[in-house]
């Protein structure tokens, strides 16, 4: 139970990564390291039922027998899993019952990040402005969820995963691990054992969720892993749009983030999942201190005509390793993946998607825009496969890479498996270098070199930006500009 260590001295140049501040609040940690006791400790802390503990312990057993995967095109020193904290929570005697009970320092943190948590403030905002409900996750724990009452009226459940385990065990038991099995992969398995919190969404049949749902993840504590678990279920004919945002302070030590996100879409349901990921990317010269973002995200279009679309803007993390995927099980189900992945400095990204066509007449669409600058490496890795029963499956894939400067790298690794003769898969890929002619053209019109790069890059990623909910598209556009600062010259 150590108090939070003051780490302000580590935070040197805030102007570069503007979310790089540390909030000094009283926190509660589990002892360092990973063991069965720690798993039990986490489960006990969260007052979990026996079945949940058993699930975790089973995952832990399996994890012990697994090896870290090495196939991705990323390089990093071996992670010492015994040298991290697996549970860090803002210290509070009881869980906060209302916003007024939340530590004001935490609220101030979210304010700094521009995340609206106070419903009345959101309501007092510009007339007609879109509202969105927020679930804020601070280190391992969900600190507040807004707009719960209004959502409940529509029958939508939006709460932290811990709460869902207590309040809606039948739903959690039915769906948890049903998309990403416990031992799916090394990091997902670790997550299953030690996951701390995350968001839970259930939209009942025929309901169109009345507002955007959003979760904001913030890693604050030092040397702590963040293992969120998110589960979203859209029942028959339901619709929900969900957005997650992520930031972290600047540290000298790399921190592990291994989340699992499971989406389930039943007949005629639609889930739109957007991510703006801006974890601390590490020191641009040495790569020190950035987040290792090893995430498993998968959607199951379990019902006929179900539709899931993933949109991601990945600008942060030292290493990004994630493949938001769609299992197109239902007939005529649709999967979409729109991605912007930007790497600068020493960042490494190996990201893409998997579209698994199982049902007949399933369709998928992949638009990936990779931008590499500095000394970074950016890999698109994607799988499109069709099962023998997936007659009439269609996929369109477009992977564009943009290189800025001479020291960066872009790779495209598409895997295509068609196991029946009646599918149509199209793949287009381009790699271009930001042209000096274009830059000069824009500069001759009055743009500085950086403004010119921003304009050209925003043009390059436009197809994907327009898939984001409006207010986030603006934020993402700014983020794109910030992540490429100093990438030329």
């Amino acid at each position: 139970m150590a108090a939070v260590k003051q780490t302000v001295e580590h935070v040197e140049s805030l102007e570069k990564y503007k979310h790089g501040f540390v909030t000094d609040i009283d926190q509660e940690f589990a002892p360092k390291g990973l063991s069965e006791e720690i798993v039990r400790f986490i489960s006990a802390k969260k007052d979990e039922p026996e079945w949940m503990l058993a699930w975790r312990l089973d995952a832990y057993e399996r994890w012990l027998a697994m090896d870290e995967p090495t196939w991705a095109k990323v390089h990093f020193p071996r992670i010492d899993y015994q040298d991290a904290y697996y549970y860090a929570a803002p210290k509070a005697k009881e869980g906060p019952k209302s916003l007024d009970e939340v530590d004001p320092d935490i609220l101030a943190t979210y304010e700094k990040l521009g995340i609206p948590l106070r419903e009345q403030e959101v309501l007092a905002g510009v007339q007609g402005a879109p509202r969105y409900a927020v679930d804020a996750v601070f280190d391992s724990v969900s600190v507040v969820t807004t707009f719960k009452k209004e959502l409940a009226q529509a029958g939508v459940i939006f709460c932290s995963m811990s709460e869902a385990i207590r309040e809606h065990p039948e739903l959690v038991q039915k769906y948890l691990g049903s998309v990403v099995p416990v031992s799916d992969n090394y990091y997902a398995c670790l997550n299953s054992a030690v996951f701390s919190d995350g968001s839970f969404v259930y939209v009942p049949p025929g309901v169109r969720c009345p507002m955007e749902l959003s979760t904001y993840f913030r890693i604050n504590a030092e040397n702590s892993g963040q293992f969120e678990r998110t589960l979203i279920i859209a029942d028959k004919g339901a619709y929900v749009s969900y957005l997650e945002g992520c930031t972290a302070p600047m540290r000298d030590e790399n921190q592990l983030h291994a989340a699992v996100v499971e989406l389930v879409a039943l007949d005629d349901a639609e889930i739109k999942y957007s991510t703006v990921q801006n974890w601390y990317p590490g020191d641009p010269e040495t790569g020190k201190g950035g987040i290792y973002n090893f995430v498993t995200k998968r959607a199951d279009c379990r019902g006929d005509r179900a539709k899931v679309s993933w949109t991601q803007v990945e600008t942060g993390s030292a290493i990004t390793w994630k493949y938001p995927s769609c299992v197109l099980r239902g007939n005529e189900s649709v999967g979409e993946f729109y991605s912007i992945a930007i790497t600068n400095g020493r960042q490494q990204a190996d990201t893409g998607t998997k579209m698994i066509h199982l049902g007949a007449n399933t369709r998928s669409r992949i638009i990936s825009k990779g931008i590499s600058a500095g000394k970074s490496s950016n890999t698109y890795r994607g799988l499109v496969s069709a099962h023998p029963k997936a007659k009439g499956a269609r996929n369109f894939t477009q992977c564009d890479s943009l290189l800025i400067g001479k020291a960066c790298a872009a790779h495209t690794v598409p895997y295509v498996e068609a196991r029946n003769g009646q599918c149509v898969f199209e793949h287009e890929a381009t790699t271009t270098k930001l042209s000096e002619d274009q830059l000069f053209y824009a500069m001759q019109r009055g743009l500085s070199e950086e403004e010119a790069v921003q304009l050209l890059v925003n043009g390059f990623v436009k197809d994907v930006l327009q898939e984001l909910p409006m207010e986030f598209a603006v934020e993402a556009q700014k983020l794109v500009a910030i992540s490429l600062e100093g990438s030329v010259g």
């Binding site: 042209s435 000096e436 002619d437 274009q438 000069f440 053209y441 824009a442 500069m443 001759q444 019109r445 009055g446 743009l447 500085s448 070199e449 403004e451 304009l455 050209l456 925003n458 043009g459 390059f460 990623v461 436009k462 197809d463």
Partner: protein, 248 residues
């Protein structure tokens, strides 16, 4: 307005401009003609500050201010505009967005407030109409999939929108049919004013039937080798550049 004295510049170590001198007073239109490889495009790039075009001697000033000390964006903000021989395609960036971004960047550099959306749209609509440009075309990505003539028209559109003081037209007639040439020339002529000057770079006399120059200069082997009135262009058209190539 523009004053160039004994300007020397090289590209990849090869000297292209070899002591070029030129005066373009306010309100005048000067044509630069010359054979291929004389340094015409190099002159336009040196005046606009393109990387890789290294000035090794001489001066170039705009209203007494040293142009060569400024970066390309600063020169643009001072009112130097180059209509490119080969306008670039800018994928994903609508023409209107591009021009508005440029306009605001220039205004910011001059310490002026940003252009308001209604003000900008009004100006864009009027300018497009004058140049017979369909307004919808301005919503498309700049120059992407445009014909050669459309690209040139778009250059003139940008020029009219940004309202520069010193205009450089680099081979603006290339790739234009007669109708397009007339529209483009009308657009350029509409910009003639006592406090604006133009440098019209062209290989052929044809353009000068439409944009009447006050002075014509012959550029050969990196130097101005002859200057005269509009009749000089007609003489060049008849007799070619041979005489001047020898003189250089």
């Amino acid at each position: 307005m523009l004053s160039i004295s004994n300007l020397r510049a090289e590209v990849d170590g090869n000297e292209i401009l070899k002591g070029l001198s030129l005066e373009v007073p306010s309100g005048e239109v000067h044509a630069i003609m010359g054979p291929n490889g004389a340094g015409k495009s190099t002159l336009s790039y040196v005046l606009t500050g393109r990387e890789g075009y290294e000035v090794t001697g001489g001066t170039a000033t705009l209203d007494g201010e040293d142009l060569l000390a400024l970066d390309p964006a600063e020169r643009a903000a001072k009112g130097v505009f180059l209509s490119f021989q080969y306008p670039l395609e800018i994928p994903g960036v609508p023409a209107l967005t591009f021009i508005r971004t440029a306009m605001n960047a220039q205004r910011k550099a001059r310490g002026e407030p940003e252009v308001s959306a209604p003000e900008f749209l009004k100006l864009a609509k009027a300018t497009a109409a004058a140049l017979k440009i369909e307004f919808d075309m301005l919503k498309r990505a700049l120059n992407v999939g445009f014909s050669g003539g459309e690209k040139k028209r778009m250059e003139i559109f940008q020029m009219a929108m940004l309202s520069p003081r010193f205009l450089i037209l680099d081979e603006t007639d290339s790739g234009l049919d007669i109708d397009a040439l007339r529209i483009v020339s009308d657009g350029v002529n509409a910009m003639r004013s006592p406090d604006r000057s133009m440098l019209v770079i062209t290989h052929y006399q044809r353009l000068l039937d439409y944009i009447k120059p006050d002075r014509v200069h012959v550029l050969s082997a990196g130097r101005i080798v002859a200057s005269g009135g509009p009749e000089l262009a007609l003489e060049l058209e008849r007799e070619g550049y041979d005489k001047y190539a020898r003189a250089a």
